[in-house]
């Protein structure tokens, strides 16, 4: 494409700032003592420490995977610090007045002032600031409904039976290199339990921040929707600008028991690195859910950040008539690399899955969709529909599709459609001739391309996602 497009692809990261909150940070390095330190810091019971140590042993025996369509310098896991917590946290604040003003300021910069959010309809915020959950709101209202929404570190103490039963049940410690690492050193994250038959009265929302230099972020989230319950969970992230690559290896486990429904939406905007691709975050995430009979899990993600993304939110459709959905927009610009997609594992009879993936590449970025649809020998009458669209902006980026389809049942139906298109000079010019500048035009075209996925997002998230794409593409034409 023309030079026009090229010069629009450049713009400073708008959420780039760094807050000075005193932290307690471990020196870099990883060994058993570090794991014992993390566990002790959280006053964990012995069983939790044992579980971490077992994961560490497993991790030590594993190799870093290299099959993804991404390139990055070898990570030195001994140069990473595995624990940091804002100091002011020893005593948990009871209200926002007790919260470190610096932190409030950070939220203000991000446009999400908590004091307003408390009043905002229906969204409870579990703010994860570095490794420890700092502020939790709307607890009372949720408790009334019997919904548990708290830091996982707290759940280890308060709900040990649930944690013991479900942690690692969907993403086992030995599942992959990063899940093993996460299991050993996970810092904190969210725990959600929706009791039988309860429809969670509000959308649950978590904002993640990475704010400590050289600190790996190892979130662990566990959501359990008991029989016939329903929950919508929103996860949104922005991060400060920084120079060194940061490793992020989160694990998210979803359990949807019979007739339950979990909707998990993510807007991810971690620092992608500068124009040369320097300094961005490495995002190696394992997200997976299991659906029991007639249960439904729906993943919606808008991925615009990170230097390297390696992420495949997946569904195991174990129960008969269960449903898995994956709606994704992945945008890469400059030197960003994304290898993302999903796995739909059909085990139950008449299980159904839908995959809608929209990849947008600009600058010199590489964007790959990797998806697996497996119809197991017991998946009688199972169906999958996959639609995979790629949009290229400029002529120095790449889009790749790696669909894997395995069918072990003759009555299973798998459909796959794929398209690749470019934002054409003609489309751009049509918009310009109607009075729009090139940047606005590209953003409009790209938003149109993503419409099917944005439709799946809760309203306020959809607006945010549209804005995020606009910001991420600024400088991609010009």
């Amino acid at each position: 494409m023309s030079e026009q497009v090229e010069s629009l692809i450049r713009k400073e990261y708008s959420a780039g700032f760094h807050t000075n909150i005193e932290s307690e940070t471990l020196p870099p390095g990883l060994n058993e003592d570090v794991i014992r330190f993390i566990s002790a810091k959280k006053n964990e019971p012995q069983w939790m420490l044992d579980w971490r140590l077992k994961a560490f042993k497993i991790w030590q025996g594993m190799e870093e995977p290299e099959w993804a369509h991404v390139k990055y310098p070898k990570i030195d896991f001994q140069s990473i610090s595995y624990f940091s917590a804002p100091k002011s946290l020893a005593d948990r604040p009871k209200s926002l007045d007790e919260v470190d003003p610096d932190l409030i300021e950070t939220y203000n910069k991000l446009g999400i002032p908590l004091h307003e959010q408390e009043m905002l309809a229906g969204v409870a915020v579990d703010a994860v600031f570095d490794s420890v959950s700092v502020v939790t709101t709307f607890r009372g209202k949720l408790e009334e409904a019997g919904v548990i929404f708290c830091p996982i570190s707290e759940a280890v103490h308060k709900y040990p039976e649930l944690i013991k039963k479900y942690i690692g049940s969907v993403v086992p410690q030995r599942d992959n290199y990063y899940s093993a690492l996460n299991s050993a050193v996970f810092s904190d994250g969210s725990f959600v339990y929706i009791p039988k038959g309860v429809r969670c009265p509000m959308e649950l929302s978590t904002y993640f921040r990475i704010n400590e230099m050289n600190t790996g972020q190892f979130e662990r989230t566990l959501i359990i929707a008991d029989e016939g319950s329903h929950v919508s969970y929103l996860e949104g992230c922005t991060a400060p600008q920084r120079d060194e690559n940061q490793l992020h290896a989160a694990v998210v486990e979803l359990v949807a028991l019979d007739n339950a429904e979990i909707k998990y939406s993510t807007v991810q905007n971690w620092y992608p690195g500068d124009e040369q691709g320097k300094g961005g975050i490495y995002n190696f995430v394992t997200k997976r859910g299991i659906c029991h009979t007639r249960a439904k899990i729906s993943w919606t993600q808008v991925e615009t950040g990170s230097a390297v993304t390696w992420k495949y939110p997946s569904c195991i459709l174990k129960g008969d008539h269960s449903i898995g959905e994956f709606y994704s927009v992945a945008l890469t610009n400059n030197y960003q690399q994304a290898d993302t997609g999903t796995k739909m594992i059909h085990l139950g009879k008449h299980t159904k899955s839908t995959i809608i993936s929209k990849g947008i590449s600009a600058g010199k970025s590489q964007n790959a969709y990797r998806g697996l649809v497996r119809m197991g020998p017991t998946a009688e009458g199972a169906r999958n529909y996959t639609q995979c669209d790629s949009l290229l902006i400029g002529d120095r980026c790449g889009a790749h599709t790696f669909p894997y389809i395995e069918s072990a049942h003759p009555s299973a139906v798998v459909e796959h459609e794929a398209t690749t298109s470019k934002v054409s000079d003609d489309q751009l010019f049509l918009c310009q001739q109607r009075g729009l500048d090139a940047e606005k035009a590209v953003s409009m075209i790209v938003n149109g391309f993503c419409r099917e996925v944005f439709k799946q997002l809760p309203m306020e998230f959809a607006v945010e996602a549209g804005k995020l794409l606009e910001v991420s593409l600024e400088g991609s034409v010009g």
Binding site: Q427, L430, Q432
Partner: protein, 255 residues
């Protein structure tokens, strides 16, 4: 507001596409309220003229000067030309999947009004206007919700262009072979849209191959473009003469 007695003044305009010289010292003056028809054989540079005036990338003015409402047109970015009131009805309108007609229209009109220091229309106000415009060009209102030109027939695309023109209220409308591929009914719809917009402070440049359109949109002047320059000008009777005699008798004059 700047008032000029000239809408568009083209002096010795030369332009090339890739490395080929297409316009050669073209001269044309359009006053407010006038309709000028540009006719001529294939490859004469008719479409190039509209593209150069609207600033399409790849169409490069190499010499000459163009004044639009007293300002240097060639100095402006394409979107600024549009906001200043220059409108090009495309010969081949492209599709923009997923972007609704309404969304593009509202953003366009907002941009033009902001440029003029006017307030945006409210969504409700604008919806009303858009529905009216749909009626005028005989397009179902469902077209407002559909993706821009997505799956439109040839005739629907052209009527959509005229609808956009009505909502943008440009000062200078350039119609690039808007009649091509239209049946007689669609042609009449397009023409009545244009005629409804005629006013003392709005001008039209109608590029066409065929005299037929000029039965419905009656021009003040007819120009023949051949080999990159205007070789003959006259009133609407010239169009009839061209239909009878063809262009070959004029092409020699252009060399």
């Amino acid at each position: 507001m700047f008032v000029s007695d000239t809408m568009l003044k083209i002096n010795d305009l030369c332009a090339k596409v890739e490395d080929k010289e297409i316009l050669r010292q073209l001269n044309l003056e359009v006053k407010p309220g006038e309709i000028h028809a540009i006719m001529g054989p294939n490859g004469a540079g008719k479409s190039t003229l509209g593209n150069v005036l609207s600033g399409r990338p790849g169409y490069e003015a190499t010499a000459g000067h163009v004044e639009f409402k007293g300002q240097d047109l060639l100095d402006m970015d394409p979107e600024i030309r549009a906001r200043e009131g220059l409108f090009l009805a495309f010969q081949y309108p492209v599709e923009i999947p997923g972007v609704s007609n309404m969304e593009l229209l509202k953003a366009s009109v907002d941009a033009r009004r902001a440029h003029a220091g006017l307030e945006e229309y409210s969504a409700i106000e604008f919806m009303k206007m858009a529905r009216e415009a749909c009626k005028t060009v005989n397009l179902d209102q469902s077209f407002l919700k559909r993706g821009v030109n997505e799956g439109f027939s040839g005739g629907e695309k052209k009527r959509n262009e005229i609808m956009q023109m009505m909502l943008l209220e440009p000062s200078l409308c350039i119609l690039d072979e808007t009649d091509s591929g239209l049946d007689i009914d669609a042609l009449q719809v397009v023409a009545s849209g244009v005629n409804a917009m005629r006013s003392a402070d709005r001008s039209f440049i109608v590029v066409t191959h065929y005299q037929r359109l000029l039965d419905y949109i009656v021009p003040d002047y007819v120009h023949v473009l051949a080999n990159g320059r205007i070789v003959k000008s006259g009133d609407k009777s010239l169009a009839l003469e061209l239909e009878a005699k063809g262009y070959s008798w004029l092409e020699n004059e252009a060399v």
